[in-house]
């Protein structure tokens, strides 16, 4: 069984990767569960999942330090985007920290995943870098839910949220949210780590290897098919 961050599942990429692998390996079935990265790693700890795809570097470090991985590599990279009601992209510009400071100063509605996901881990780091503690602020809302539902809440409540780009693009045409004008930066990169849990089957190992090795070959086509963009998900390295 494969457990992956909800961003990859909500964007549709994880299922597409599993389909591709299954058609290349008839008879093999890949079961995908989408959970926040913290839960994905917890599933791995409890031996309930064999292959983990996560994007929460701090938590991954703990997992690896405990010697729970057979092997583990960054395989896929995408980006984080701040999205919000249309019109904001003209008002708010600058680095992500500057934009967050402006959001807090103006008291603009912000929706947080608040669920221990990789996106949430990164959001907290961005707030810290901006020198702001948003918890408890009247404009700061926490859903405790996955990326998809959090984007729906942000859309209907005219709020800003931090999203992984693929999950946003997957629903963008049905929502009224637009990406804010945040200056490009290496800080916005969103690396996904593929980890094989110790003691997993050969079949699981083969799939994890395939994800890492084949990412450069399969991602371009999947990007075009799923999102109409060439470089949304990129192979790492």
């Amino acid at each position: 069984m494969v457990a992956a961050g909800t961003t990859l599942v909500d964007s549709g990429l994880m299922d597409a990767l599993a389909d591709q692998y299954e058609s290349a390996n008839p008879g093999v079935e890949v079961s995908v569960v989408g959970e926040a990265s913290a839960q994905v790693l917890e599933l791995g700890r409890r031996g309930a999942a064999d292959v983990l795809v996560t994007h929460a570097p701090a938590l991954e470090e703990l997992f690896l330090a405990d010697g729970l991985a057979e092997f583990s590599e960054i395989a896929i990279t995408s980006d984080f985007v701040l999205v919000g009601p249309p019109g904001l992209e003209d008002r708010l510009t600058g680095t992500i920290e500057e934009v967050l400071i402006e959001i807090a100063a103006a008291g603009l509605q912000f929706v947080s995943r608040a669920d221990g996901s990789g996106t949430n881990e990164r959001e907290i780091l961005f707030w810290e870098a901006a020198g702001i503690d948003p918890s408890g602020e009247p404009w700061y809302r926490e859903t405790g839910q996955g990326m998809g539902l959090t984007l729906l809440v942000a859309d209907q409540r005219s709020a800003v949220t931090l999203s992984e780009r693929g999950s946003f693009v997957a629903v963008a045409d049905r929502l009224g949210l637009a990406p804010l004008d945040v200056s490009p930066s290496a800080d916005l990169a969103n690396p996904y780590r593929v980890t094989l849990v110790v003691g997993s089957s050969d079949a699981a190992s083969d799939f994890a290897r395939w994800l890492i090795d084949q990412a450069p070959n399969v991602l371009p086509d999947l990007n075009r098919a799923l999102f109409g963009e060439d470089d949304l998900y990129r192979a790492a390295g």
């Binding site: 809440v153 859309d155 409540r157």
Partner: protein, 233 residues
Amino acid sequence: MGFLLEVFRDALSALSGGLGGDLGSVVWLTSWIAFVATGISVLIGVPLGTTLGLSEFRGKRATTVLVNTGMGLPPVLAGLVLLLLLWRGGPFGAWGILFTPAAMVLAQAMLAIPIAVGLTASAISGLPLAAKEQLAAFQLSPWNRGAVAVREVWPAVGGAVAAAFGRVISEVGAVLIVGGNIRGETRVLTTAIVQETRQAQFGQALAFGFVLLGMALVVNAGITWLQFKDAAR
């Protein structure tokens, strides 16, 4: 066994931490949403159910089938339909109540009204024929006739109220979809249990579960007490 004991201990310590912080706001929100939704469904459902139970008309059987189907309406479907109706740009989008408690009340009422109608109607239909004929003989307004009938079968109508409340308080699919589980705003006991479970906070989840069970127990004890008090008279 060790695992279960550990979760149980965590739940107890979460409970003994008092009703402070999140638990307080979650319980408060759960209570008032459930009471308002139950109130609406009783105000609408009991009169409708009484009318359905007392009157004979063409299509009564078909109406009963519809009501009974409504009693089993899948909550996620109710949630989805309501989400589409309340979505900005949808027919009732201008209300701006999606992902607010108001939407959750609507969702719960939508699920509980058929229960109030169906159980009241079946209780009224169960009146002995002689009682029905007697009722018809009195020169009463339809409203008063209904009131007398409801009083006749009150314990069963009380059961309908209890069932409507049970549906409302235990429901998670619809309120998660139209409420969004926003902390301090739309997070209720059931959606909090889902979230804590997904985050592997099993003790906290179980603690919320105990509180939920406790609330159901208190409300049902109240209704049962009223049922028996009147039945003994």
